[in-house]
Amino acid sequence: MNRKIAVTFTALSLALLMAGAGYGQGRGEQPPSYTPTVTPWEKLPDWSGVWQMVGPTIFDTATQTGKGGSVDIGVREHPPFNAQWEAEYQKSLAKRDAARLPDVISNCGVPAGWPRMFNLPDPYEFVIRPEQFWILTENGPNVMRVYTDGRKHLEDQWETYTGDSVGHWEGDTLVFTTIAAKGNRDGDVLLDRTGLVLSDKAHATTRMRKTDANTIEVVLTIEDPKALTKPWVVTKHFRKLALGTRIYDYGCAENNRNPVDEKTGKTLVLDPNGKPLNLD
């Protein structure tokens, strides 16, 4: 090998190695400060298969009376919002009734967010591993991770669409807490199409278990010091679909051409006449 080429090759290799090391340790990634504890495969339940949320995409059917919901004008009792958030919710309901409520996930460009992850149409997969639990949704698609390896919540987690979730197994029940979800702070995470929203201070304890061979129950106890006056308990159910059901690729964002507002940078949700709904 020519000496000049050899020197260059060595220098490049070293640079790549240093870059690799730096990526792992020099840019804020810290080695784990905990001793991982994982549940062995043989003690984990079998939630394999493909699942579908039971009922329409109403986040909490227990708070609703009468026919209606995301499309029809329905009568609805309310989550335990405080006066300020109740007033905002009333505005959302009025917009919903006039079909003027922007729902940003219809752009397909942002995640559904938490806890709407539990309120989506189309099939789900619940993937159990010793160290993590994954929720995969065809709609979106979306992914939510729950660490079950003994780690704690990040102390400096910024608020994100799905937040930060850690949990553990109590027998066949998965128990996890979720924090640091951004809620509707930026106006783009609804819980359903009635305009239910939570704040960026919402957090929850979730208990998931299989209640029979074909049903998974999810019980969320949501607290939100900004928006709620007391814990809000919401139960969702998922039923197992027929053996062999496939989840397909859903390129929801393909062919979406909703424009971006030059002043705010927001992706606009348009009404049928092409006028933006989310510039109010």
Binding site: P56, T57, V71, A99, N107, P121, N255, L270, P272
Partner: protein, 133 residues
Amino acid sequence: MSNKLLLLTTIAGLLIPVTSAFAHHAFAAEYDDKKPITLMGTVTKVEWMNPHVFFYIDVKDADGKVTNWRGEGGNLSTLMRRGWRKDSLKIGETITIEGSASKTGQPFVNARTVTRPDGQKLFAGPAGGEEAR
């Protein structure tokens, strides 16, 4: 106006309705579930595309006037699970669409079911709404 400018203006004009037509809306923003509609017509085009399938039919009214209606169905993966395939609808065949009409009065329909000439029903599914996609 120069020929080049005219050409650009024409292209821009053509793009505007495309943008509007393909933007992804919630059902409630575009269709009215209080306006049920049934249409029979001849398939002129099928767009097996994300995020929703679109198909077009020529519908003749009582006066013989033909209008090309746009039908919108659900997402492709849901249609696949319901038995649809990308070639399920054939150009030139006569189908019946049942669904909800557009709020704006444009010839758009959100299709719930499509019935083929042999009576086979394809469930298009709402492109939004209660089972929003």
